[in-house]
Amino acid sequence: MLFGGVFSLMAVGLTLIFGVMRVVNFAHGDMMVWGMYLAWLMATRVGLDPYVGFLVCAAALFVLGFVVQRALVQRIVDAPHEMQILLMLGVALVLENTALLLFGPEPQRVRSGLAQATLWLGPVFVDVARLIAFGVAVVLTLLLSLFLFRTDLGRAIRAAADNTYGALVIGTNVRRVYAVAFGVGAACVGAAGALVSPLLPFQPPTGLQLSVASFNIVIIGGMGSLLGAFAGGLLVAVAESLGAVFLRPSLKELVSFSLLVVILLFRPTGLFGRRTS
């Protein structure tokens, strides 16, 4: 359940990118793994705890997202979906295997002083690390909503998402807004990666699983809806842990994939999505 917050933050990043550009970031999970490796590098080389280091990860991933958007995605914003998917698949392959080349195939886990601590909250006992990850993820999502609804740049992003042409007409620099939105989306997933890095052992192929997991969440919650992504993250986390309890731990993903198929067929706009033309 507490993983849900991090799941949500990851999905919020994906849904922001999709909502603004109508481009599905197939490299999303790989960007998250890069966030994890950056947190790991900082923890091992500099001794920076991932619960502080996530800020650096978010900043670094913002730059990565910004650059990827400017150099590649901008060229195919208006291309057919198939082409966009193939391009992002290419980006995903490059990111995943560069990580493999640099860091090797061994699973890693970031050590944090807080990862071992536990806490009794009334009758339940809780991992401090999970609690912090959940809390920070929720706070970051709230900050992101504040940014989108209260600042000029955030309003420009929402304007470009609602009506690109209209935003262009009133003089918004849509190219810049796109790049910033992609950067912010990548920063979300970078922070999410750093936050779970002490909890979840990771290796380069983890990126693919995380990408697929975040696709699940945004489809279930509704593509392009921030609230949907957030609620979807919590829902998927709860559904998977229930699946792990009632079926078998190795079958827990089956629950979310079955949920995905049902949602795809009967409510492709997701639980919180608006019907768009």
């Binding site: 082409m83 490059v94 560069t98 080349l101 795809l264």
Partner: protein
């Protein structure tokens, strides 16, 4: 000029059966893989290239074909020469289910991609949790060297089987391209709504394409099982395998007869070289970085793939 190219291609194809007598064993292996992935790319091409329905779950069909033929052979003694068609039929049944759900509910673009991925992942999870077929550890076939059980002492036999698969699939696709069916598929890819408006039963043709494509891929599964002798759910049902299939067709030219073959001739040696040379120096995944860059370059600069460009070059 284009005729010259086709003649050259046909001559090259005619020379392929003779090559093993000159080749060393490594070249035979390499060409076997080129043919086999060319075959898989060609099978994908029917639905992904011609009909333009981007399936990212073709590993599911391969996996079903592979497990079916392997289990039938090992447990029941049914020869894979029959089992491959049983596997193909089962894969086609899954293809029909995915196609029915996807096309009936009107899933397009990313949503269809996700539906196919979801089914492949569901297959993977079920296979890893079914102890009767080895679970996550995998299913192993004991080598007996009996040709009736699709097992050959001589690697050249696999070369010929792979070549036959590739030529058969290419023949089917080349024939389809001449038929009304093939034209309908291309028309659906280019503008589905216009097709429907003209009274083409797009659902029916997309279904047929999906069933044919998944059947061929399932038949290929038998080759995979009896070439490698071990099946792991994570590799045979995994998304990376689906990507390997797609990338060959796309780089070579999706929706063309020779595209997937050309793509396999470009990419399979690259993958093999990288596995042999880079992996020894601890350079894991180097060939996949090259794959990724090629994919990006193809989308940006050569969206129709290498073959159409090559054909035009000769046409001038």
């Amino acid at each position: 000029m284009i005729r010259l190219l086709i003649v050259a291609a046909v001559l090259l194809l005619a020379a392929l059966p003779l090559l093993p007598s000159v080749f060393g064993s490594y070249a035979v292996t390499l060409f076997t893989l080129i043919f086999f992935y060319g075959f898989l790319g060609q099978a994908w091409n029917v639905v992904g290239g011609y009909a333009g329905q981007l399936s990212a779950g073709h590993a599911a069909f391969l996996g079903i074909g592979a497990y079916t033929s392997a289990v039938l052979s090992v447990e029941k003694g049914i020869t894979p020469w029959v089992g491959m068609f049983v596997g193909g039929a089962l894969a086609a049944a899954l293809g029909a289910l995915i196609g029915f759900l996807g096309f009936r509910f009107g899933l397009r673009g990313f949503y269809f991609v996700l539906l196919t991925v979801a089914f492949a992942e569901i297959c993977r999870i079920i296979a890893s949790n079914t102890d009767a077929i080895g679970g996550a550890v995998g299913y192993y076939i004991t080598f007996t060297g009996d040709p009736r059980q699709f097992q050959f002492q001589d690697a050249r036999a696999y070369y010929y089987v792979a070549l036959a698969l590739m030529l058969a699939a290419t023949g089917i696709v080349a024939w389809l391209e001449q038929q009304r069916f093939g034209l309908y598929l291309s028309a659906i890819r280019e503008d589905e709504s216009a097709c429907e408006a003209l009274g083409v039963n797009t659902f029916r043709y997309k279904m047929l394409a999906m069933v044919l494509s998944s059947f061929l891929t399932g038949v290929g599964g038998a080759f995979y099982a009896f070439y490698l002798f071990s099946l792991q759910p994570s590799s045979v049902f995994g998304i990376p395998l689906s990507v390997e299939i797609i990338i060959r067709a796309v780089v070579g030219g999706a929706g063309t007869v020779f595209g997937p073959i050309l793509g396999s001739f470009i990419l399979s040696p690259l993958a093999e070289l990288a596995r042999h040379y880079f992996a020894q120096g601890g350079w894991h995944g180097a060939h996949l970085i090259v794959y990724g860059m090629l994919l990006i370059a193809v989308v940006l600069f050569l969206p129709e793939g290498a073959y159409p460009r090559l054909a035009r070059l000769f046409h001038r």
